[in-house]
């Protein structure tokens, strides 16, 4: 009796906690509301399944508890019941998977008008690169990294000469314009993570990875590293400032290009 009651309380308590908990996701600042919606669908389906399973278990504990004269029912199999339950589960799984895959296909299809920018991780600092007036990022190579060329840009590549290099400053982005974030690491794995944007991806030394999003509201957002990168992992912080187009352009004018840095 007490056991059944406690199990019911565990189920009810979990649901109550879910609704009353002050801990919930950060207000979204990107185009990925679809991800939040898929998460909500998943919460509903799994929440119902959890309460049903624990509730049924508690009822069985109460109803079929051992009493004198009680005898269990002998029934090795029940095909119809098993098939019915399998089909119901498959439908529930499909109801989560279908929207999940649909949103994923958007997540991996970068729009053609997305601006390419670059985030570079190293222990334990973020750097950024924006394309110059040509709108193109130049090539780079880890072997070219030096004190005067911290991101390893190729000095012979004309596309790279007007690239804006931001070392250890804030990343600024204009609101409402899709960006494809190219990710590079020069020492170990890192992961550029801004909770409000929902999207994130590891950066791997030796490869260039990416994700895309559109900032949807202005503000300053804290970026963290989400992939263990050594003892400084927790202090690898940065800031992303999302601004209106005019503010952004004003900021951009004050930044230095690779050519200017190299001429130092």
């Amino acid at each position: 009796m007490a056991v059944a009651l406690i199990m019911v309380l565990v189920a009810i308590g979990s649901v109550v906690f879910h609704w009353l908990s002050p801990w919930w996701w950060t207000p979204i600042a990107s185009n990925w509301e679809y991800i939040d919606q898929t998460l909500i669908i998943t919460f509903w389906i799994t929440g119902i399944a959890f309460v049903a399973v624990v509730g049924f278990m508690a009822w069985c504990i109460f109803r079929y508890r051992h009493r004198p004269g009680q005898q269990a029912h002998y029934e090795p199999e029940n095909k119809r019941l098993e098939v019915w339950l399998t089909v119901a589960t498959a439908l529930g799984v499909a109801a989560m998977l279908a929207p999940g895959l649909f949103v994923w296909s958007q997540f991996v299809s970068v729009p053609d008008d997305a601006t390419e920018i670059e985030v570079v991780g190293k222990q334990w600092q973020w750097s950024y690169r924006l394309p110059g007036e040509d709108g193109k990022l130049g090539t780079s190579d880890v072997r070219l990294i030096s004190d005067t060329n911290p991101l390893g840009l190729n000095p012979d590549d004309p596309n790279g000469r007007d690239d804006v290099v931001i070392e250890a400053g804030d990343l600024h982005l204009p609101v409402g314009r899709p960006v494809k974030v190219l990710l590079r690491a020069i020492d170990v794995l890192h992961d550029f993570y801004v909770p409000e944007f929902r999207a994130k991806m590891d950066m791997i030394p030796g490869s260039v990875t990416y994700f895309w999003f559109t900032p949807t509201r202005t503000g300053t957002f804290e970026s963290l590293c989400a992939e263990l990168c050594g003892v400084g992992h927790a202090v690898m912080r940065g800031r992303v400032v999302v601004q209106t187009e005019e503010e952004y352009q004003a900021w951009l004018q004050g930044q230095r290009t690779f050519a200017q840095l190299a001429a130092r």
Binding site: E77, D147, V188, V231
Partner: protein, 587 residues
């Protein structure tokens, strides 16, 4: 024994000694230390696993002290914290759960439940334990090595695992960890071949595969999986050792560390991740399948009801085992692998939910219309169902690729895997220990201590890990020794962290009560008799309790029925042992 085919005319002297005399050990050393008896080896495995598990428990306390009260304990700096999480994770997953389920329960139960005298290769079986012990000692040695143990996280991702920014990366830590893993895998392979061949070849007369208890199905399938999955970790470990010691570049691309160009070049960090998770995901089920099997038997026995849908249960175990080899990259959705992989791995991952759900339904339907005795093993089985269902359902968040993107690498993941492969299998381990302790020792574990242990552990663990999901939802990353001042983390999250830490200390203390019970009941526990739970399976029908060397006296048992004849209509008792002949055949 001693039967040899003679060729005529060759004089072969008769054995002077009876074969049985050669079979049984004669000294204390060969009986209890260098024993070839699977039961003794099983107990050795279990005690070693529990001992190293206590280290992992203390490490979890230290981590929680840091997370709950950051800055209070000077000796826990970031390096120490990363060493604690790494060793805690590796010990729990490999050296405790895998070793205890397969080496501990596998050794003790496989021969007994199948009506065999022992494992088929007893000497190799003995070696398996001693190599496991050596692996544990090498692992422990890293605590005392220069630079301390590795702090690379239990996933040991290169390049950071072997670079100087990570504790133990350029010292002994990572080397000892990789060596220890290699030793573990060698030792496990010796044991694993034994379990597999014993199940296939040494079952007694009448014990068909489809009459085996689900415990054996779970352990058997998990063993086969482990034999296929561990080699991937083995090669990964060897290659990383070569990268670290000889300067090869299997996993190391050209990189610049702290402004220094290193001589590595051309390797792939992500290749290691594929190798690791090709092992790592089956590993989840290597732990889960024995737990599934054991909990099925606990529920059937203590609900006095046949397991519901036995054939479906067997097929579910086998299908889960097979599918678990094609879902590994769901650990890598945000690793930077080709994004199209996401479609495939999300689909396979969610498909696995179906056979898993069937298992949950069948446990519930076994309780339904049962005659439920709320003994300690049953309580732990119920605790398992709640925590496993909870952890399994949050797996549907993380498995569904796009939902994983915001949640990966946050505390949501930590909460999920602790619930599903930490708390849930540990519940089964405890249930199993309360269930089989009377067979191993002849005495019952104390009931009062057991009840306190259960409620504190079950409710406490739930209070620790359920709210933790919401920290992850908020965006708190995992593997942070201190979240510090972060714009989106409110003060209330720090309060929650402190609460979780206090509960964790209490839950840890309850495990000490269990340890005390384990030793106290050895002498003071109630006499158990041969079959205290009125169970049907063969291990409860041995002529002696605890069973002697060779298990069965002079004659092996003969099996006439499946393992779940509980409450058969018309039978005199509410259980019919597997070796009880049908009425017509009785003399």
């Amino acid at each position: 024994m001693g039967d040899v085919a003679h060729t005529a005319g060759t004089a072969v002297p008769h054995d002077d000694i009876d074969g049985a005399e050669l079979y049984h050990p004669h000294s204390w050393l060969t009986k209890y230390v260098f024993s070839q008896d699977a039961k003794v080896i099983g107990v050795q495995y279990a005690l070693t696993a529990i001992a190293i598990g206590m280290v992992a428990l203390v490490l979890s306390w230290l981590m929680r002290l840091q997370l709950g009260f950051p800055g209070t304990f000077d000796f826990i700096d970031p390096a120490a914290y990363y060493q604690f999480i790494t060793m805690h994770g590796m010990i729990m997953v490999v050296y405790l759960l895998t070793a205890l389920f397969l080496g501990g329960f596998g050794n003790y139960l496989i021969p007994l439940m199948l009506g065999a005298r022992d494992m088929v290769f007893p000497y190799v079986n003995m070696l398996s334990y001693w190599i496991y012990l050596l692996a544990v000692l090498v692992l422990v040695a890293s605590f005392f090595a220069p630079g301390g143990p590795t702090g690379a996280g239990w996933t040991l991702y290169p390049p950071q695992a072997i670079l100087s920014g990570t504790p133990g990366g350029q010292d002994w830590g990572i080397i000892l960890m990789l060596l220890s893993l290699c030793l573990f895998i060698i030792g496990f392979t010796m044991g694993g071949l034994n379990y597999t061949v014993t199940v296939l070849q040494a079952r007694t007369r009448g014990m068909t595969l489809m009459r085996m208890p689900l415990t054996i199905w779970g352990i058997f399938t998990a063993t086969v999986m482990a034999l296929l999955a561990f080699p991937a970790l083995f090669v990964g470990a060897v290659m990383m050792l070569l990268d670290r010691l000889l300067g090869t570049s299997f996993f190391m691309p050209a990189l610049v560390e702290m402004g220094q160009q290193l001589s590595y070049g051309g390797g792939s960090p992500i290749l290691f991740q594929h190798l690791f998770w090709f092992f790592g995901h089956p590993e989840v089920y290597i732990v889960a399948l024995p737990a599934f099997g054991i909990v099925s038997d606990l529920i059937a026995t203590h609900a006095r009801r046949n397991i519901f849908g036995y054939r479906m249960m067997v097929w579910a175990i086998v299908i889960i085992g097979a599918l678990s080899f094609i879902v590994w990259a769901h650990h890598m959705y945000v690793s930077g692998m080709h994004p199209w992989f996401g479609f495939f791995f999300a689909t396979t991952t969610l498909i696995i939910a179906i056979p898993t759900a069937i298992k949950v339904y069948n446990w519930l339907l076994t309780l339904w219309r049962g005659n439920i005795h709320l003994n300690l093993p049953m309580l732990f089985a119920l605790g398992f169902i709640v925590t496993f269902v909870n952890g399994g359902l949050t797996g549907l968040f993380l498995g569904n690729v796009v939902v994983d993107v915001p949640l990966s690498d946050t505390m949501f993941v930590v909460a999920h895997f602790h619930m599903v492969m930490g708390v849930a299998p540990v519940m089964v381990i405890y249930g199993a220990l309360y269930h089989w302790y009377p067979k191993v020792t002849g005495r019952m574990l104390d009931d009062m201590m057991g009840k306190i242990h259960f409620w504190v552990t079950f409710l406490g663990a739930y209070l620790i890990f359920f709210p933790m999901h919401y920290l992850g939802l908020l965006g708190v990353p995992r593997r942070y020794h201190d979240i510090g001042q972060t714009s989106f983390v409110p003060d209330s999250a720090h309060t929650l962290n402190a609460f979780i830490s206090v509960v964790a200390l209490v839950v840890g203390a309850a495990q000490l009560l269990f340890l005390f019970n384990l030793f106290w009941s050895l002498r003071r526990g109630k006499e158990a008799g041969p079959n205290p739970w009125n169970a049907t399976t063969l291990e409860w029908q041995t002529p002696e309790t605890p069973p002697g060397h060779g298990n069965w006296g002079r004659e092996l048992p003969v099996v006439y029925r499946w393992a779940y004849d509980y409450s058969v209509p018309g039978a005199a008792r509410d259980f019919t042992p597997q070796n009880e002949p049908p009425p017509a055949a009785a003399p």
